[in-house]
Every structure is written in structure tokens, then in C-alpha cells.
């Protein structure tokens, strides 16, 4: 195959403006015209070539490798219309590289990711959450572990912005889910310095670092949603940021009662390889409406489910103590260690469409606490 690839194919030329000019005699590619002859002609400002900008920004390590919307000033200005205050105001300082997350930088990264202008207030709030000390973004960004930022949306904003909380909500196919998750990743790369292989040392990385944002299916949940559980009024929207691995599946079609179903879940959750086994911390449990209904039909409240999982998801100490940081004895009881420190480390949301599945995501362990912020 090697002889098929010219050295310069689409990668270094920067001349794709030629594509724009089909009938003009002049196909010289000069973004910044300098000769006087050139300047006598009629100039028409056009949007930058998307292929060229995408490749240029990729080569500068500003992107994930996928196409971006060129962040022209006019596009960025549209985002400001949905924001309040000075574009140069610093909303957060993001570690490890202590980047100043100004409104301007948030908007530029949001445009690139494909966000719509009215997502701006939510983006600002998410970035502010990332700067919360308890989130330990310095560790989350730089670790060899495949932890990503998982963003969960609650409240009326879910429907106003048309988030997906149903079939396929963790995956592609919905613009707000896809672009907001991606914009957060771009902020991590370009503001916090989490460039893969440079400021992000994830040994293998994770698909969830492309985009990992979804809404809770509050309409189909038998329980109070996450924002309410965290003392935010149901009328307010909320954005929750968690440091999580990609979610993996618990297929249970056969359990007809709560404890059987929860046993499938806890035995899938309690594994020695996750970070929670040696540095117990948060566990995200994303339950489908059908699974949640099987459990709630027996009268279980959300707190009962959290308590059951906290008490029963335990790993033998000899298998658990294999992570980077030494397992602290304070967590252990009778040679077993629970993968969560406390009941509220079990974070339960209901999401998804038809089907009998729960998805689990292990956290980064003791070193990252989720953050929930109310939306205005």
C-alpha cells in the first residue's frame, strides 16, 4: 500500500482553497494576500475550508482527529449572545497546565466541537465544575488510567435542548449529547493541557474520551432524579460531572425480583481490576427503565438500592490490592474491601430505552469526587 500514498496528500498542502475556486482563473492559495495586484481585485470573505482547518488544528494537536467547525469570530460571537459578561473573564483555572478558561476559550472550543450557540450557558457551567478541587482534574487528566469526564444532564434543560435520555443515549446520534461531550474534551485538551500522549497519559485511552454526555430519563424513572437527590430543585436543570471509565453492560433478562437483579449487578461491579478495588470511590450505575421498574415494583427506594450495592459489592483484599496506590486498611473488613466508601458513592441514574440492561462505570477511585452544579 505504501506506494499509493504521496507524501503530500491532504496532509500538509494547505491549498484546499483550490477546491473553492472552480471557475476563477486564480487558484493560487494565499490566505493573506500581499502583492498589490492581488489587492486590486474584489475580495470576498468566505468561511475557511473545513478540511484544511480540521487538518491544521489536528496537526497542532487541538482536536480529536475528527472534523471541526472552523471557529471564526462571527461564530464565536453568536455564542456570546447566550452568555453574560466579559468574554475575557476567567471562569475556571484548569489543571494540570493551569489554563485560564475564559468565556472566549470555552466558546471557541464549543464552536469547534459542533455545539449550537445556545449550549453556551451549560458549557460554562460544566467547565466551572471541572475546576472544583474535589474533582481532581489534575489527576483525572494526566493518569495512565482510562478515566474520562462523564457529564449527566438533569431537569427541564434536557427537553429544552433536546438531549437524548433514551435508546442509544450513551452513544452517537444526538447533537447535544455528542457535541457537548466533545466540547468538554476539547476544553480538557486545549485549556487544561490534556493532549493525548503529552498531558493525558492514558495507557490505552478510551472511546469515552470522544464524548460522554447524556441526560437522565426522568420521565421513566420510578425514583427522584440525580439533581433532586443532590438537593437541587427539580425545576432547575443541573449538570453533573463524574470521572468515570466507559460504561460496560449488565445484561439481565431473567431476574424477576430486585435482589436477583441486584446480584447480577453487584457481581459484575465487584472486580479487582477497577480502581475502586484499591482506592474505593464512586460507582456509576445507569439503569434502564425496565430494570428500575423491576426493582421499584417491590417497593425499593433509590436509597435502598444504593445501600444494597454499597454493602454487597466487595472484592477480596488479596485481589483488590493491586493498583498503583496502596490499599488502605481502613476500607477493609474481614479480608474484603467494598468498592464504594459510602452509600452515596453509588451514583444511580435511570436512562435508556426499551431493554433489560444496566450499565456500570467504575470511577477513578478515592481521587475524584463528582460535582453537581445547578443551571440558572
Amino acid at each position: 500500500m505504501s506506494n499509493k500514498i504521496p507524501d503530500n496528500v491532504d496532509k500538509s498542502c494547505g491549498c484546499l482553497i483550490e477546491d473553492l475556486l472552480t471557475k476563477s482563473e486564480d487558484s493560487k492559495c494565499t490566505g493573506q494576500p500581499e502583492n498589490s495586484d492581488y489587492n486590486k481585485r474584489e475580495r470576498i470573505m468566505v468561511d475557511p475550508d473545513v478540511e484544511k482547518i480540521s487538518l491544521d488544528f489536528y496537526q497542532k494537536k487541538f482536536t480529536d482527529g475528527l472534523p471541526i467547525i472552523p471557529p471564526t469570530r462571527s461564530r464565536v460571537n453568536k455564542f456570546y449572545q447566550y452568555s453574560k459578561g466579559d468574554p475575557q473573564e476567567v471562569m475556571a483555572i484548569l489543571p494540570p497546565l493551569q489554563g485560564k478558561a475564559t468565556r472566549e476559550k470555552i466558546a471557541v472550543n464549543g464552536v469547534m466541537a459542533g455545539c449550537l450557540p445556545h449550549f453556551m450557558p451549560l458549557l460554562e457551567k460544566a467547565v466551572m465544575g471541572l475546576g472544583d478541587e474535589k474533582f481532581n482534574l489534575a489527576g483525572v487528566n494526566s493518569t495512565t488510567h482510562p478515566v474520562a469526564v462523564c457529564t449527566i444532564i438533569n431537569g427541564p434543560v434536557r427537553n429544552e435542548l433536546e438531549f437524548n435520555s433514551k435508546s442509544g443515549c450513551l452513544g452517537p446520534g444526538n447533537l447535544p449529547n455528542a457535541t457537548i461531550g466533545r466540547a468538554i474534551r476539547f476544553c480538557l485538551i486545549n485549556i487544561a493541557g490534556a493532549v493525548p500522549g503529552i498531558g493525558d497519559h492514558s495507557t490505552m485511552g478510551s472511546s469515552s474520551k470522544y464524548s460522554y454526555c447524556f441526560a437522565e430519563n426522568e420521565e421513566k424513572s420510578p425514583w427522584e432524579p440525580l439533581n433532586v437527590e443532590r438537593n437541587i430543585l427539580a425545576d432547575s436543570g443541573a449538570v453533573t460531572l463524574l470521572g468515570m471509565e466507559a460504561a460496560h453492560n449488565v445484561n439481565d433478562h431473567r431476574s424477576q425480583n430486585a435482589s436477583d437483579l441486584l446480584d447480577t449487578i453487584i457481581h459484575t461491579a465487584a472486580t479487582p481490576g477497577c480502581n475502586n478495588s484499591h482506592v474505593p470511590g464512586e460507582l456509576l450505575v445507569i439503569m434502564s427503565p425496565e430494570h428500575a421498574r423491576t426493582i421499584s415494583d417491590e417497593g425499593w427506594e433509590k436509597k435502598d438500592v444504593k445501600k444494597y450495592i454499597h454493602q454487597h459489592a466487595v472484592v477480596p483484599v488479596n485481589l483488590a490490592d493491586r493498583g498503583g496506590r496502596k490499599l488502605d486498611e481502613i476500607w477493609c473488613k474481614e479480608n474484603m474491601v467494598p468498592i464504594t466508601r459510602k452509600i452515596d458513592d453509588v451514583v444511580i441514574v435511570v436512562a435508556g430505552g426499551p431493554g433489560r440492561h444496566t450499565m456500570l462505570a467504575h470511577g477513578f477511585g478515592t481521587s475524584c469526587e463528582s460535582v453537581t452544579l445547578p443551571l440558572d
Binding site: 481585485r41 475557511p48 472552523p70 476567567v90 493551569q98 471557541v108 489527576g139 494526566s142 493518569t143 498531558g199
Partner: protein, 173 residues
């Protein structure tokens, strides 16, 4: 007809650093008391124990901190009891980050520091220190990997770096 299509300019997504430079502390001469700040990564204890046997004329204060996260206030206070603090081990992303960031916290408290990182993570450690206003933070490189190795191999790698550490600690003599 001649027409020139001119592409609009694009804006820069990269943020500026919000950090000002900090002052680093000189290593006193002589060092009476040294603090070992062990982040519990595999091999950190082996490195520090071997170092202890070589720095006989100093009192050693041993303390622990989490890998991948900030030291607690009391952990930091204990580590600050030394004339110098040696932090080990940065041999992964998050543990390197918090070796460096805790070293910087100690420097801000007036304690000179020396951080031990594996060579695969040292470039990142230096970039991080720079971003946090400490481009000259003392970082000693040990050969990666450390985790997963037989203790004897870790000692071998440690022996390579002891002269450099001694030079830093006795330099002021």
C-alpha cells in the same frame, strides 16, 4: 472577472496559563533532617529505604501521601518537618502530577524539595512544574518501569541515581 475568495480567520482554542512563577527554596547546608514523602506506589518504599541507608548522617522523617491525589493537610505538615523533602514516586500520569504538585505546595511552605520520577514521565513532570510556576523544580529521573519489577531490580535502578541525589543534597557544602 477576477474574484479573490479570502478565508476568514479562525480563533485560537489554546488557553493561556493562569500561573505566576513561584520562588524555590535553597537546600540548607548541612541538611540535618530529611523528610521522605512516599506516595505508596510500588517500589517507592524500596527506593526510599535504599536512600536511607546511604544518607546515614541525616535524620529521616517518613510520611505517606496518596498517589494520584493531593496530600492531606496533616500529611503535608509532617513532610514539611524536614529541612528537605524527597518525594517518590512519579511513574505514572496521575502520581507524577501529584508528586510535582505536592512538591510545589511544600516549596510554597518554604521547604526545598527533590522529586523522583521515572524517565517516561519526567518530560511531563517538567512541563507541569513549569505550568505551575516552578520551571526549576528539582526532579531526578529514574529508569522506567519501576512497578511490576523484582525488588532487586528496583534497587539496581536506585543505585544509578543516588550519586545525583547526593550531589544535590551535599552541593551546598
Amino acid at each position: 472577472m477576477k474574484v479573490n475568495l479570502v478565508e476568514k480567520e479562525v480563533m485560537d482554542p489554546l488557553a493561556e496559563s493562569g500561573q505566576k512563577n513561584i520562588l524555590l527554596n535553597d537546600i540548607p547546608s548541612p541538611v540535618h533532617q530529611i523528610s521522605f514523602f512516599d506516595n505508596t506506589k510500588p517500589g517507592a518504599d524500596i527506593i526510599l529505604n535504599l536512600l536511607k541507608t546511604r544518607l546515614k548522617q541525616m535524620d529521616v522523617i517518613e510520611s505517606k501521601k496518596p498517589a494520584g491525589a493531593a496530600a492531606s493537610k496533616s500529611q503535608l505538615e509532617k513532610a514539611a518537618e524536614g529541612d528537605v523533602s524527597i518525594l517518590a514516586l512519579g511513574d505514572c500520569g496521575s502520581c507524577t502530577t501529584w508528586v510535582i504538585l505536592d512538591a510545589i505546595r511544600l516549596e510554597k511552605e518554604g521547604v526545598p524539595t527533590l522529586s523522583i520520577c521515572s524517565h517516561k514521565f519526567t518530560p511531563f513532570a517538567r512541563k507541569l512544574a513549569q505550568a505551575h510556576g516552578a520551571p526549576n523544580l528539582r526532579i531526578v529521573e529514574i529508569a522506567h518501569p519501576i512497578a511490576g519489577l523484582d525488588p532487586e531490580k528496583v534497587k539496581e535502578k536506585t543505585n544509578f541515581i543516588i550519586p545525583e541525589i547526593e550531589k544535590i543534597l551535599y552541593n551546598a557544602d
